[in-house]
């Protein structure tokens, strides 16, 4: 399909509000989010999107009540085990961005490592799950890595800096979808979203489905991306 974004990222927002609207505990919203996640992965895969990134858990989310964090961690583990084979069968390479906090339970860390091992040779689509992720932290880590390697200041360019970020092959994000109508970046992939188009559908994440995803792709295709120039007559990624 012409004009498709190469890299789509989703900030999965609105689980708590979805549950509150139904007088349910917040954790019920997280459980309901699983169906949306699978639907969006399937939709992106069908559309031929090459890179899909999902913001599952931020470094700031550790401040939430322990019981809610616990439910979230168990939910992630259950989702991984439940869908690993299907993801692999569809040729989806799964990777995680972040996942450094010692509070992550070892069994979950093992499952994450296993999922990455199982799918590492797949190339049909790359799914990056930002889990225990912070955009600023990634930038600080890249700076540390540059210093450790003794790179002279005059040799530090945007390109050389990007090579020190986690998953340096991750292309810049073309489209970010943040559900629930909230309009913030929330420390998400700060380096990679520099030129991204943002869409803020009012739908809460547990209600977000393939059709909403298609609508967002359609909006993106009709936008005129300029990357700071006067006019670039295409909605595709940089240089196309």
């Amino acid at each position: 399909m012409r004009g498709l974004p190469d890299h789509v990222a989703c900030v999965m927002d609105g689980n708590g509000r979805w549950a509150a609207q139904r007088s349910l505990p917040r954790t019920a919203g997280h459980h309901a989010a699983e169906a949306a996640v699978i639907d969006v992965i399937e939709a992106a895969h069908t559309a031929g999107v090459g890179w899909l990134s999902l913001y599952a858990f931020s470094t700031e989310n550790w401040r939430r009540p322990a019981a809610e964090v616990d439910v979230l961690l168990r939910l992630v583990r259950r989702t991984i085990k439940k869908h690993a084979l299907a993801l692999h069968a569809r040729g989806i390479r799964c990777r995680f961005l972040g996942v450094t906090d010692p509070r992550i339970p070892p069994p979950l860390a093992r499952d994450i490592a296993d999922l990455m091992t199982l799918t590492r040779d797949n190339r049909r689509m790359t799914l990056t799950v930002a889990f225990d992720h912070g955009g600023r932290r990634d930038i600080v880590e890249a700076a540390r890595s540059l210093i450790r390697d003794g790179v002279p200041p005059e040799q530090v360019t945007e390109e050389s800096f990007a090579r020190h970020l986690p998953h340096p092959d991750l292309p810049e994000v073309d489209l970010v979808i943040r559900t629930s109508g909230e309009q913030r970046i929330s420390n998400f992939m700060l380096w990679q979203v520099a030129y991204a188009e943002w869409i803020f559908p009012d739908v809460l994440w547990p209600d977000f489905r393939a059709e909403h995803f298609w609508q967002c792709l359609d909006v993106y295709r009709r936008r005129n991306r300029r990357f700071g120039e006067v006019s670039v007559p295409t909605a595709r990624g940089k240089g196309t």
Binding site: A84, L85, P106, D111, D114, L115, T117
Partner: protein, 489 residues
Amino acid sequence: MRDSAPTGTEDGVTPTDPAAPLGPGSMLHELTHQARWGLVATRAIVLEAAHPQIGAALITNSTFVAHPWRRLRNTVLSSQRMVHPDERVRQREAARLNRLHERITGTDAEGRAFNAADPETRAWVVATLFESTVTMCRLSGESLDGPVLERLYSEFRAFLALMEPDGGTLPPTLREFWRYYEVMIEERLENTEAVRVILDRLFAQVPAPPLLRDSPAVWAAGRALAGPVAIAITVASLPEPLRARLGLPELPGARTLIHAAYLSTRFATQLLPEAWTRLDTVMAMIDPSSGSQPGADALAGLRRGATKAGALFRLLTPAPRTATPDESTVRSAARFFSEVLDQTGNGFLDWPDLAAMAREIATRLDLDTEDEDRLFTAFADWWRDLQQELDTDGDGRVTGHEYAAATATMTSSALIRVAEVLFDVTDKDRNQFIDGGEYRTLFRTAFDHDTGDGDDDEQLTRTEFVRRFLKFMAGRGHSDAHDRLFAHP
């Protein structure tokens, strides 16, 4: 099997002595490089274990139950060195085996003395290898006519003569050998504890080879199927009188199974690409640290496949009850104790464990006589230190908790000497530094321990090496969990 005359005249290689028909061109050289040699070695060990002296030595000194893959690899490596093109390598290996055997002495549970260097005992080991080779060929449908059989036997005698200066005690002719073999089976072999351990425990509990160590569930599932089959094949191939003495009935269908198994190995050897059926390839597949090169790409692919299969198996397995941090700590500590310290797998640390560790290091690093003696002396001194510090009840052994608690506070000068010997043998150019790559290779080779991805350019001084070695031997280099457990037993 090649039929050319032994030559051994490759560049830089000492010509083979016609009186010692080993090396390239010999039947033994060809056989010991085929993967099915593993079948011969496995069957032969049962016959060896039924010999009272060998059985006692195996039970008290050997690490084959706890570390069967390592034992198999050492046996294979040693066999290949004994038929190496260069006679100097053959002589060196024979001398090493002699030193190793001389150190294995003691008394069995009934008070009978055993000595691994006893000529009669060593003749039986070689006899079992010869007879198992003949059995393998027979069960594979390969006919060994008179002259070929005579030649094979003379090669095995030459094999023994490498270790025994007077030629050993194997009968001079093949006719006399079969008489000797029958008498040994009828009169000498017993239902030893070692045989029962091999048949009851080894096949059923054989730990995962290094390749599948991270996929225990995959290994356990495969072993549950293959273990009983391996026992049935091995038992069915044993001589009938011995089987009767061991009280092992022949299972229905075992004959068919055994022929199918051996025929498969024969056809695999004949039909598959040579690189696939070479013993080096198989050993490299089950133990990536063995460093063999043939078919490296295919092996890398297989390893990746195995890793993925393990990952998928774990992901598809329902999540078990989450272990508490304490449980994880205990498991980690137990792993260090069983993999590094408790070489014989009896749950205690005693002299056979340390002797096995020294033997293993000497074998893997191919130490010469002087370095090997220094290493054994250092280990023996260290054992005396440990006994004085720890073995308060004088039963000659210490538990994992006692060991770790003591090493945390005790800096044994003998253990430092062990470290110094290791430093010296690693520092080949004697410049008093070893680099990061050599350091990691040493730990991987000698202790199966991965020290992680370090910097190859790092230069370790003697002091720094000793410090890290002491930390490793105290368990502190293994895991924080181990440290926590042993600090607070």
